[in-house]
Symmetry: C2
Subunit: 579 residues, 2 copies
C-alpha cells in the first residue's frame, strides 16, 4: 500500500467546502531542514446537525483498523451513533513506512497509533475489541468474533455482536496465486509483525554468512535476497535493502558483502507498470547502476525452502535459483471471511466484494465496505440509457433538443463518472459536443437511438480503483461524512437524480481524487507521479516524500517520532542488531 | 542486573591513574533539563607497550556479549591479540533499562548496540560469530558452537574453534529453584526478547479484560499481575507497571482499570533486602500507598497456567491465586554449558564456577571467567598464615617486631582484602593496631601464634560479589587492562608479593569498587544507595538515575536515543500498541 491522500487537501477546491487551511511548518531537524505540511480539517465546524437524537442510537460496527477503518473513525463526528470497533490489531499502522521499519530506518512504534488514542476524544460512544471477526450473518445482523490474545492467557474467547450498520474495512490478504511454497517460505510486508520478521531474517542471513564453517556456496545462497513483484512496495523494499547493505552493513560485515545479491522479479514487462514510462525507465536504470538485478517477464512458479523457481516468458524455461530471503509483494486477494460473506449474499461468482458508488455492499442491507476488501461496481451508462433518456424527456416526446439535456447533464456526469473520463480522453469540451458528434449536422432532434450511439463507448472508460492507502483513506473519510450528515441529507438529499426512480440520491456518490503516487528508489531519491502527468524524480521528490508522509501520519506523536527516527538515521545510520 | 560502574569514574582516585576527566553536559531536553555526565577514559594514552609482537598473535576467544564481555572488548587496546567473539546475540543490551522497555518508556533499539559497531575501530583484529557455545574442551583448548539463526535458513550450523586464551562471559540463566511450572508459564526479564514478550502479554491482558464476553472472574484473573522477587529488578518492574497502568492505560482502558491488581511476592522478610533499611521502609510504604500488594515471607511453590501457589512462612499455609501475568525475577543459576565445564575441571561440587582474584578459572589454564557466570574464590588469610609470617620473618627468628611487618603490610592488605574490611568494621586505624590488640601490652615480639590469633577473625569478612552489571563491567575493564599491560607486567610485575612462592604477582588482583545502587520506585522517584551509607530517596535520586544511566550507555547513539525516548515519554506518554 502506498501513496497518500495528502494532495487531496493541498490541491482540492471541494465544491461544498471551498475553504481549507494549509499550515506550513518548517521544522529544522538535525541533519537537514524538513518541510512538514499539516492541514486542519476543512470540515471542522460544519457539523451542526442535531445530534441529540431521541431514542436508541444506531449501533455501527467497524471491522478493521487499517486505513479505511481508521479514516472513518477519525472523521466521524456525529454523536448519534454507538460505535464498536473490532480488529485483530489494537493500533493503526502507517503501512507506507513498513519498508523503512524493515530496514531500521524508522521504528515500528513510531508508525503505529493505538486505536483507543485515536477515538479517545470523539463525540460518539466507542468501544474497541481486540478480536478477529470470522463470520458475518447479514440476515440476523450479527458478527461472530474470536479474540486473538496470546495463548498464555489460555483459551480463545469467542463472542457474537449485533449491528445496525456494519462497516467492512478488513483489508485483504496477500495474493500468492496459489504458487506452491509461498505461504510457507516467503515473507510478506502487510503488517508491522511482517516487517519485524523480515528484518530479523535479513540480519540472520548476514550473521550466517559470517560464520567460519559455512561453505562459499551456502554464503552465496543466504546472501541472495529476492523481491517478487515490481510494484511500488517491491521496488521500495529492494531500494531500501540496497541502501541498508551498502550504507551500513558493508562496514560491519565486510566478509558478507561480496556475496550479496539483490534480485527483483516481475512477471510483467516493466517494473512500476502503473507509473509513467519515464519513472519506469529511470528506476530500471538506477537499479542497474546499483547492481540490483531486475528480471522482467519472470513468473515465480514455486518456492522451496532454499530455491525459488521462475518461468521465463521469453524462453518458457524454468530456472531455479538458491535464495536466502524472499519477499512476496505481488498483489492482494479476498480474505476468507469476506469470501464466505460474498457466498451468503449472492456475490459468489465475483472476484472481489462489490459495492455501489455509495460504498453500500450490493445485495445486502446496512453493510458498507471500503478499502482493499471491496471494489466499487460502477453502474454502466448503457444499462440505464433508456431511463436517462426518459428523465430528460419530460414531455415524453421521444425526441429532444440539446437544451432539453441541460437539466440532467450534471446529474449524468456525477452518477456516471466514466462520461467525464470519456470526454477528457476524446478532448471533447462538453456533453453537448458528444451529442452533436452522434447527431450529425443535419438533425436538430436527438432520439433514443442517437443517444445510445453517442454514449455507446463511454463505459469503456470505467476503471476500478487501485488498492492503495490513498483510496482507502478517502473512502473512510467519505463514508464518515455521509454518516455525519445523514439526518440533514435525509431531509434534503444532495446527490444526483435517480434515473430509474424518482427523487434524488441522498448523498453524492464516492469520487476518488488521485493526488499522486511515490516510488522511493533509494539513495535519497524518489519518483513521484503527480496529477496531470507531472513527474518528479530525484532528491527533491524525496523531500516531497518526507513532507507528505510526515504530514499524513495519524497523530502528532507519530509525526514527531518518525521525524526524529529519520534524523537518527541521518546521524547514526541504521541499526544492525537482531531485534 | 542493576547498578552502574559510573561512580567508579566519578569518585575514584585510582592509584595508578590519578587523572581523569569529568565532562558535564547539561543538555536541556524538552520536558526538563537532563544532566548528562560523560567521562573520557582515564586510561587513554597510557597504553604504550610494544604491540608489534613478533610471531603469531595470541587468539583470544570471548564467549558472551553482556556487560562483562562487552566491557572487556571496549577496554582492550592492545593489538597483540586476535580476538574472536562468540555470542547468541549480535548486540550488547543495556539490561538495567529492560523494565523500561517492557513498559514502552524506552525503545528496545535504543538500549542495544551492535557488537560489530563496538569493536569496529579497535586496534586488535576481531571477528564476531553469532552462535552459542555448547561445549568447552579445556584439554584441547577447543570450543564447540552452534549457530542460532532462524530455522528458515534451514539447518543448524555447527563449528569448532580453538583458543589460546578463553574468556567466559556468558552470564547466567534465571534460577527457578526447580519450582514446577515456572519455565512454562512465567516471564523472565533477562533479555531484550523477554521484555518484548512481557510487554505483549500485559497488553493482551488489558485487551482481554475489555472483551464483552469475558466473565467478571476472568477479568479479575487476567488483570492480576504478579512479580516474584523483591530485588531491585522486581521492585522496579512493579513500580513501572503501576505507572504504566495509572498514567497511561487507565485512560485508554477505563473498564479494565477496576480489575487491576499488582502483587509483589518476596520469600524473605523485606523487599530490597540488600539495601539500607530506610530504603526498604520507604519502598514498602510507597507501594502500600500506590496499592501494590507487597507480600513478604511468601514463597512460590507452583505456577500453573492460571494459578500461582505460595507457601506462607508464618502460617505454613499454601495459597493459590489466579493470575494473568507472572514475572519471575528471583536470582540466577549456572548455565548448563558452564556446569559441564565445571565437571570437566574438577569444580563439580561447587555451586558457581570459581576463579581466583585475577579472574583465572581455578583448575584450568588460560581460561578467565567474569560477570554472572563465575564468582571469585577469595583466598583465606588463615590458609596462608604461616607463609605470610615467614615472608615477614626475613631473618628466620620466629618472632618479629611491629616494624618488621611494615614491608609486607601493604601486600597483605592487597592480597587479602578482607583484612581491610575487618579493620574498618572494628574501627582499627591500621594493621599495627590489630597486631597490638593480639599482642597484649607486655610483649614486644610477635610470634606465629599471636599472629594467627590476631588474624583469626579476619576471614569472616569475606563476601562474594553481587551478580550485578556494575561488577561485570568492572571485571571486564580490569581484565582488558591486564591484557593491555601483559608484556609490560611480565617484565615488571606490579602485583603484591607472592607469599607462598617467590617474587610478585604479575598484576594487582581485581578489586571491586561499589559505587552505589539504584531502585526506581515509580512516580519519578528512585532510591539510591551510595557508598558511605549515603542514601537518597525521591525525585532528586530519579534525576541522578537518569544522569547516571544516560552516561553509562555504551555509545553516543544509544545515549541520544534513550534521552530522546525519555523526552517522548514525558511529552506523549507510553504507547499501548501491541508491538
Amino acid at each position: 500500500m502506498r501513496g497518500s491522500a495528502f494532495f487531496q487537501r493541498a490541491f482540492r477546491t471541494y465544491r461544498e467546502h471551498p475553504t481549507f487551511f494549509k499550515l506550513l511548518i518548517v521544522s529544522t531537524v538535525s541533519g537537514g531542514g524538513l518541510l512538514t505540511f499539516s492541514d486542519a480539517s476543512p470540515f471542522q465546524g460544519l457539523i451542526t446537525e442535531s445530534s441529540q437524537n431521541e431514542g436508541k442510537k444506531k449501533k455501527v460496527v467497524v471491522l478493521g483498523t487499517g486505513w479505511a477503518g481508521t479514516s472513518f473513525l477519525k472523521n466521524l463526528k456525529s454523536s448519534s451513533y454507538d460505535v464498536q470497533v473490532v480488529s485483530p490489531n489494537n493500533f493503526f499502522a502507517f503501512t507506507p513506512l513498513l519498508p523503512s521499519v524493515t530496514n531500521g530506518t524508522v521504528e515500528a512504534r513510531s508508525i503505529v497509533e493505538p486505536i483507543r488514542n485515536i477515538v479517545k476524544k470523539k463525540p460518539y460512544n466507542v468501544e474497541f475489541k481486540e478480536a478477529e471477526c470470522y463470520e458475518i450473518d447479514p440476515v440476523n445482523k450479527k458478527i461472530y468474533c474470536r479474540s486473538n490474545q496470546s495463548s498464555t492467557l489460555d483459551g480463545i474467547e469467542e463472542f457474537t455482536d449485533d449491528y445496525d450498520v456494519l462497516i467492512l474495512a478488513m483489508g485483504a490478504r496477500v495474493n500468492t496465486f496459489n504458487t506452491p511454497g509461498v505461504e510457507e517460505h516467503a515473507h510478506f510486508l502487510k503488517e508491522v509483525g511482517d516487517a519485524q520478521r523480515l528484518r530479523k531474517s535479513i540480519i540472520d542471513c548476514y550473521e550466517r554468512a559470517s560464520l567460519p564453517s559455512v561453505s562459499e556456496e551456502e554464503k552465496k545462497r543466504v546472501m541472495h535476497f529476492v523481491v517478487v513483484g515490481g510494484g511500488p512496495t517491491g521496488v521500495e523494499y529492494a531500494a531500501e535493502l540496497h541502501d541498508l547493505a551498502f550504507d551500513d552493513m558493508a562496514k560491519l560485515y565486510p566478509s558478507a558483502k561480496d556475496y550479496l545479491k539483490i534480485t527483483l522479479l516481475e512477471a510483467g514487462d516493466h517494473i512500476l507498470n502503473m507509473f509513467d514510462k519515464r519513472i519506469t525507465t529511470f528506476a530500471t536504470e538506477k537499479f542497474q547502476r546499483d547492481g540490483i538485478d531486475v528480471k522482467t517477464g519472470s513468473m515465480v512458479v514455486k518456492v522451496s525452502d532454499k530455491d525459488i523457481s521462475t518461468k521465463e516468458r521469453k524462453t518458457g524455461e524454468i530456472v531455479s535459483v538458491p535464495y536466502g530471503v524472499v519477499l512476496w509483494s505481488t498483489g492482494i486477494a479476498t480474505r476468507p471471511v469476506v469470501r464466505d460473506f460474498m457466498n451468503h449474499i449472492g456475490q459468489a461468482k465475483r472476484r472481489v466484494l462489490a459495492t455501489d458508488e455509495w460504498l453500500r455492499v450490493e445485495g445486502c442491507e446496512d453493510v458498507y465496505a471500503l478499502g482493499d476488501c471491496a471494489t466499487i461496481n460502477q453502474r454502466k451508462v448503457m444499462e440505464d440509457i433508456a431511463a436517462i433518456f426518459r428523465k430528460a424527456d419530460k414531455t415524453n416526446t421521444g425526441a429532444l433538443d440539446l437544451k432539453d439535456f441541460k437539466e440532467v447533464v450534471g446529474h449524468i456526469c456525477e452518477r456516471y463518472p466514466q462520461v467525464e473520463l470519456y470526454l477528457q480522453k476524446n478532448k471533447l469540451k462538453s456533453f453537448d459536443a458528444l451529442l452533436k458528434n452522434a447527431q450529425g449536422d443535419d438533425k436538430k432532434q436527438i432520439d433514443i437511438e442517437t443517444f445510445k450511439k453517442a454514449l455507446s463507448e463511454v463505459d469503456s472508460q470505467m476503471k476500478s480503483l487501485p488498492p492503495t492507502a490513498q483510496v482507502a483513506a478517502q473512502q473512510g473519510e467519505y463514508l464518515a461524512k455521509c454518516f455525519n450528515r445523514k439526518e440533514l441529507c435525509e431531509k434534503n438529499p444532495e446527490g444526483p437524480l435517480r434515473f430509474r426512480a424518482s427523487g434524488r440520491h441522498q448523498f453524492h456518490p464516492f469520487r476518488y481524487r488521485h493526488f499522486g503516487q511515490f516510488a522511493p528508489l533509494g539513495g535519497e531519491q524518489t519518483a513521484a507521479q503527480l496529477p496531470g502527468d507531472w513527474v518528479s524524480i530525484g532528491h527533491s521528490a524525496q523531500w516531497l516524500w518526507y513532507s507528505v508522509y510526515a504530514s499524513k501520519l495519524v497523530s502528532w506523536r507519530t509525526r514527531m517520532l518518525v521525524i526524529s527516527d529519520w534524523s537518527r538515521k541521518f546521524i547514526f545510520g541504521r541499526d544492525s542488531s537482531k531485534i
